[in-house]
């Protein structure tokens, strides 16, 4: 374990004990259960892919006046459990909090919206660009380090919020991106930094618009490359009125792959737009369109053969009970220039 990680664990322990010992502490938890199945048809380049997965996500928070603790544990039937987030925050001024620990990278908009809570997201699947790194995603979704977040003064309370994160991300190997562990053997991740600015026109509403910028260094293991230096930038938005919701994001990636023979570079853009309509009955209909430019022959995407450069998805969500949902989804992903079909169904719920 590196000295930095040991120091981080020490600070986490001390702060967590302080929160637990606080006289006015408050705590809360959520337990998300999910069972999902999907079937992607074979194409000329990809074999058929069938998947069944049951998962459990436990989120716990405790807080005192100036300190906050948050953890998110995610367990999947076959892969076992993982500490997705383990973070302690210190509110050192009224409008800003400094977090340390393992958290989701703010440069990936979707990862920080619902995290692993499948019940809260309308659909079954995520856009390909926002897939978690442990599920084959192409952006590092986890960071170990520090994050400063707060609201910029002026205007409506908390109208303009920022998140600035520094830390180390995971590594690249033949399976894709691997997240950094906060407990267990340390991996040789390298420094990363990301910034996100979000504007909320009205407090308490979900409408939001923002921009993000990140710089990642991803060391490679057992590959022909040694390191990827990556710049990620983009914008996102969410708009909701009565029964209609529209949200989307655009990502611009510039990659430098350091190989033994030299450096190869590539850049591409990808984005999505999702529209949702809530009917009077407990049904929500949704459709998502994902598009990319410049992905053909990109050296970084060669490391992720499952990445869908285009995809159209339609689906329906049925809120069968107050905290349970059934979802059905049909998708047409284009992977490596070839189209296939994907069917998915999911049951999810939250307690309490």
């Amino acid at each position: 374990m590196s000295i930095l990680l040991r120091a981080l664990c020490g600070v986490l322990t001390v702060l967590t004990c302080s929160i637990a010992a606080g006289s006015e502490n408050r705590s809360d938890y959520l337990l998300f259960l999910t069972a999902a199945a999907s079937d992607r048809s074979a194409s000329s380049v990809m074999p058929r892919h069938k998947e069944k997965e049951t998962s459990l996500t436990f989120v716990y928070t405790a807080e005192t006046e100036n300190y906050r603790f948050l953890t998110e544990l995610h367990a999947v039937d076959e892969d076992g459990g993982e500490i997705e987030r383990l973070q302690v925050g210190w509110r050192f001024v009224p409008r800003a909090m400094l977090w340390i620990g393992r958290f989701h990278n703010p440069e990936v908009y979707g990862s920080t919206q619902y995290h692993h809570a499948q019940y809260l997201q309308t659909g079954v699947s995520r856009p390909a660009i926002e897939e978690f790194d442990e599920h084959g995603g192409i952006l590092p979704s986890h960071l170990i380090g520090a994050q400063l977040e707060g609201a910029l003064a002026g205007g409506e309370p908390d109208a303009l919020r920022y998140e600035l994160a520094f830390g180390k991300t995971g590594t690249l190997d033949e399976k894709g991106l691997e997240s950094p562990n906060i407990i267990g053997p340390a991996k040789r991740g390298k420094a990363t930094a990301s910034l996100r600015l979000t504007y909320y026109p009205a407090e308490g509403e979900t409408d939001a618009a923002g921009i993000f910028l990140g710089r990642n260094r991803l060391p490679a293991r057992d590959l022909s490359i040694q390191e990827v230096r990556q710049t990620v930038s983009g914008f996102f938005g969410n708009w909701e009125r009565e029964k209609i919701r529209l949200f989307g994001a655009a990502y611009f990636l510039e990659n430098e792959l350091e190989e033994r023979s030299g450096i190869s570079t590539g850049r591409f853009a990808t984005g999505y737009l999702q529209a949702e309509y809530r009917t009077d009955a407990p049904w929500t209909l949704y459709a998502r369109s994902e598009h990319s430019r410049g992905t053909q022959g990109d050296p970084y995407l060669m490391l992720f053969p499952d990445f869908a450069e285009r995809q159209t998805t339609v689906g329906a969500r049925w809120d069968v009970a107050s905290k349970q949902a059934l979802k059905f989804e049909y998708g047409r992903p284009r992977i490596m220039g070839d189209d296939s079909r994907r069917l998915a169904a999911e049951w999810s719920m939250v307690l309490p």
Partner: protein, 152 residues
């Protein structure tokens, strides 16, 4: 003569009602209350909305602590519709997303009115919402905001 008297009485009643001088006996009023010993000052409905959406509203450097009253479904629905301006599923969803984002615990919810009042008295700077007649009949609490009046 009797008819004239009756018409005059109806006219007077209509005039007084229009001027707000009388209200039907069963007019419902929703109020925000705190413990008598607490420092919470008078709050505006907008501040109450912000507090129940999880925003930190400070009083004398202490944060106001919202308690959810789930003892009466009608009261809860009126509060969410008229003060928070969200349906119950949307409010629950908003609170869950805030928790996931690391913005803190959801306001504690109480199904039992006695436990709610006990928690209100025991928690510094706690607030909750009650029907006005319930608040008037409960000792050791005071009203800090009038949130909604039936018919207004």
């Amino acid at each position: 003569m009797k008819r004239r008297t009756l018409l005059a009485a109806i006219g007077l009643l209509a005039f007084l009602s229009a001027n707000g001088n009388i209200q039907p006996a069963d007019t419902r009023k929703l109020v925000l209350v705190t413990a008598e010993t607490s420092n919470v000052p008078t709050l505006s409905p907008e501040q109450v909305r912000r507090i129940y959406l999880g925003a930190a509203v400070n009083v004398d450097s202490h944060t106001v602590v919202p308690l959810r009253n789930n003892s009466d479904p009608l009261l809860r629905e009126v509060f969410l519709q008229k003060v928070v301006y969200l349906s119950e599923p949307m409010y629950e969803r908003t609170l869950m997303i805030r928790l996931l984002e690391g913005k803190g615990a959801r306001p504690p919810a109480y199904d039992n009115p006695n436990e709610l009042i006990a928690a209100l008295r025991a928690t510094p700077n706690a607030v909750t919402y009650l029907w006005a007649d319930t608040a008037a009949a409960t000792q050791g609490i005071r009203v800090v905001a009038e949130l909604w009046v039936e018919g207004k």
